[in-house]
Amino acid sequence: MKKKFLIASHGKLAAGLQSSLEILANKGKDVEIINAYLTEEDYTPKITAFIASVQSDEQGVIFTDLFGGSVNQKVVNQVLTAKKDNIFVISNTNLPIVLSLLLSPDDTLTRENITATIRDGQVTLLSLTLPTGKTDDLDAFF
């Protein structure tokens, strides 16, 4: 199934994510972006146009930066107004989640597989303690 992606953010986060996607996976062109509030221009029509572009046999994913932020509110508003059930909205977006969904081998996205992707792509506080002892095992490798 064809999937379409939009990233909408306050300022240039969307463009920044697009740039990272291009370098990591050559996928920058696979996302549309909205960098809101850089100018006074109303960006709502861009959201509406994206939603309208998702055909009934396609799926759309809209990534927003902040849960409850104005960009997120506008997106949710437009999706609900359009009454389409083939569009998912994700907020508090980060790079691993966008990358994983763009590269997802699943033909069809479901709430379940998106939720699993989100769980695997969480912000993490790293442990910086070096492991002691034997760290890998040849027998377990094969």
């Binding site: 990591l24 996976a25 050559n26 990358l99 994983s100 590269l103 070096l130 890998d136 490798f141």
Partner: protein
């Protein structure tokens, strides 16, 4: 068998961990690098870069060659990663059953004199020793050698690029 030897001066990173392991369907990763084999900090950061569900071994080039020749690996798809062309050439000369060598990214962090380096592909800069190793690699009849940074980039033949220099 080795599904691919990738030459990458960053060893395991986003392109490799996320994109290539899926593309090659190779859940077994071997980093063949003398420095990483003895540097605990490098080992820790390399392990962080490996997605869950994949297995990783970090070995010196010499020890990695033994692993690649281990009969238990014959029917498995192993993805080998080295950080310079000369290590890839050494492995290619000492291991049977290698599908291809991908000279993806090389020479950007090797601290050798930039004026001595030849740009062979967009992100492949080779000092004289590395260039000689690339010529040796391209001449090996049993392996295909090319440059392909990401799976949706075209494969650029190594021998052709060397001929054009």
């Amino acid at each position: 068998m080795i599904s691919q030897i990738r030459v990458d001066d960053r060893l395991i990173h986003g392109q490799v961990a996320v994109v290539w392991t899926k593309e090659l369907n190779s859940p077994l990763l071997v980093v063949a690098n003398d420095e990483a084999a003895k540097n605990e900090i490098m080992q820790m950061t390399l392990k962080m870069a490996v997605p869950t569900g994949m297995k990783l071994l970090i070995r010196s080039v010499e020890d990695a060659i033994q692993i690649f020749n281990d009969p238990r690996g014959k029917d498995k798809r192993i993805f080998a990663i080295v950080n310079c062309v000369s290590d890839a050439t050494k492995i290619a000369k000492n291991v049977q059953n290698i599908d291809s060598v991908n000279v993806a990214n090389a020479g950007r962090f090797d601290k050798s004199d930039p004026k001595q380096k030849t740009m062979l592909f967009h992100s492949v800069l080779l000092n004289p020793e590395e260039l000689a190793a690339a010529q040796e690699l391209a001449a090996l009849p049993q392996v295909k050698a090319y440059n392909q940074v990401l799976p949706n980039n075209p494969k650029l033949d190594l021998q052709e690029a060397l001929t054009k220099l």
